[in-house]
Every structure is written in C-alpha cells, then in structure tokens.
C-alpha cells in the first residue's frame, strides 16, 4: 500500500487545497470521512462553491461513488461469515486502491484470515495517509502543485493491475473495451464515463471468447513442462 499511499498524496493535497478555498472549510474537511473518495469529494466541493441545488450535489457524489458498489459486491465473499461490525468496517474502507490490492492478493491465495488482515491493513494505511494528505492540503493549500510529480505513482499502480488482468480469460477484451469506452466518454460528467467503462468491461469480458485459453493456465503449464524437462522426477506410480 505504501507506493499507492505516496501516489495518492498529491491528490489528497489537491482535495485539501479545494477545502481551504471552500466557504465552510470545516464542513468540507468532514467530507474526508463521510464521502471518502477524492473524485466525489472534489465534485462535491466544486458544486457547493457554485451553490448548486443540494439534490444535484448529492446525486453527483452518489453517481461518482456508485462504482464502490461493484467493488463491495466483488469483495463480499471474503467477509462472509464474519460478524456484522467487521463487515461494516470493511465496507467503509472500500475504495479503488483497496480493491486493487485485495484483488491482487486474492491471486496469491493465502488463508482467508491472512487475506482479511491484509485488507484491514490496506484500508487503515490508506485511510490514515489520505486523512493526513487532505488535512495537510487544507492547512497549506498551495503546496499541492509542488507535489505533482509524485502523482505518477497512481497510474503506475493502475498499470500494474490492468496489465496483470490481461492474463485472465477475457481480460484483453475487457481492458480494450473499457479503454475505448473511457476514451469515448472522457468528456462526460464526472463518474458517468467510469460506470459505462465498468459495464462494458463486464459484458465484453464475459462474452464467449472462442476457444482461447486462460493465459495464466497456459503459462503455468509451460512452466511445469519446462521444470519437468530440467528435473525429471520418478515415473508415475513410483514412490
């Protein structure tokens, strides 16, 4: 989580700077906890400063954060069988980077307890770093621009996750479709294009992919075969 937390720091500073310019900084800062999402928080602050109708402010914040519903649904099985306070706490931590890292961790297996511990560690670290960055940004305001170079860490982390998904069956199709959808909708109101990309990725990724094989399985089989050639074991049936 450390590289992601560093990468998100400039974004947090940016949100903090927007809070410092808002008419009610205390209320704006409280949104760090209640909204807990940079894009939605920025849209919220922007609409509030323009004195937009309350319904519009709430609707746009909800729309931008709708993707969290999908993340939560995907992560729900991990928390099945636990007490509801744990599930509630886990739900409060669902954001893009947490989903990203927990999803990566899921491929490495490990016990369910360890995966939950990893989840909580990610969530708490990010929440702490985010709160710190937003508060610092609100306190000093103009420092956000100086920290901009750090922001390159975020797209690099995203690249790491997206490229890893290309090995999954339907991954190429899903990522290509989502990228095309994102390019086509990037001028749409904040958050709406993202939802379209998610929907397109799910639909295209699940569409029949012909007789193509899961790259992960193909590579694994090749590796096993190479390993067997290098270190031939006893024939089957011989102990």
């Amino acid at each position: 989580m450390a590289p992601l937390a560093v990468g998100y720091a400039p974004f947090g500073l940016l949100v903090g700077a927007a809070i410092s310019r808002s008419p009610d900084p205390a209320a704006g800062w409280a949104g760090t906890w209640t909204i807990y999402g940079g894009s939605a928080h920025l849209a919220f602050l922007d609409l509030m400063s323009r004195q937009a109708p309350t319904a519009l402010v709430i609707a746009s914040s909800v729309l931008i954060n709708t993707r969290l519903l999908v993340y939560a649904m995907a992560l729900a099985p991990l928390w099945a069988g636990t007490r509801w306070p744990w599930r509630l706490a886990a739900a409060a931590m669902v954001v893009d980077p947490v989903w990203m890292l927990v999803e990566r961790r899921a491929r490495d297996c490990g016990s369910r307890f360890l995966r939950r511990a990893h989840y909580v560690g990610c969530g708490v670290t990010l929440a702490g770093a985010w709160l710190l960055a937003v508060t610092a940004g609100a306190a000093v305001g103009s420092v956000a621009a100086a920290a901009a170079p750090l922001a390159v860490a975020v797209p690099l982390c995203l690249t790491s996750v997206v490229v890893a998904h290309l090995r999954v069956r339907g991954g190429w199709a899903a990522v290509s479709a989502a990228t095309a959808a994102a390019l086509a909708t990037h001028s749409w109101p904040s958050g709406s294009g993202l939802l379209v990309s998610m929907g397109v990725a799910a639909l295209v990724g699940l569409a029949p992919q012909g007789k193509g094989k899961d790259h992960e399985h193909v590579v694994g089989r090749r590796r096993r075969r190479r390993s067997e050639l290098r270190h031939p074991g006893p024939p089957h049936g011989v102990v």
């Binding site: 390159v152 690099l156 993202l194 998610m198």
Partner: protein
Amino acid sequence: MVSSDLIRIGPRAQQGLRHAGVGAMAALLVSAVVPGSSGWARPDVGVLLALAVGALLAWRRNSMIVVVAAGAAVYLVVTTARLAI
C-alpha cells in the same frame, strides 16, 4: 458487503465483477493520461514513457513496487532531461 451472508454471487458473476473492477481501473488510467480530463498526472512524454516501462515490467510479472520504482525513475530522468534542454 454487510449483507454478504444473504447474497450469493455465482462464479460467472464474480468474474464479471472482476472485469468491471479492472474496467474502472482502465478508465481511471485513461483519465490520468488523456489531456483535458481531470487527471492527476500530467499527460506528458515522461508519464507515457513511465507507463510504457511499467506495463512492460508488469507483463513480465514484476511486483507493483518494482513497476512503480522503475516507472518513477524513468519519469524523473525524462523530466530532468526535458528541463535541462
């Protein structure tokens, strides 16, 4: 998530949710790179080169730390070179 004991999600739906999540990541990546959107990283040559190197390393199964460190190094080198010119 709170009602995860009541809702059962099948493997196909799980796979769809995974695709959807990565679709969101791809969209965020596009918004961070394409000019005119509310990206966090400036869409310059340094960012594009850093992402290209990061993608190559990620494809070769390097860890996220390695991807970020190498990409950030490329970005720094390119940015410094551009400032020097």
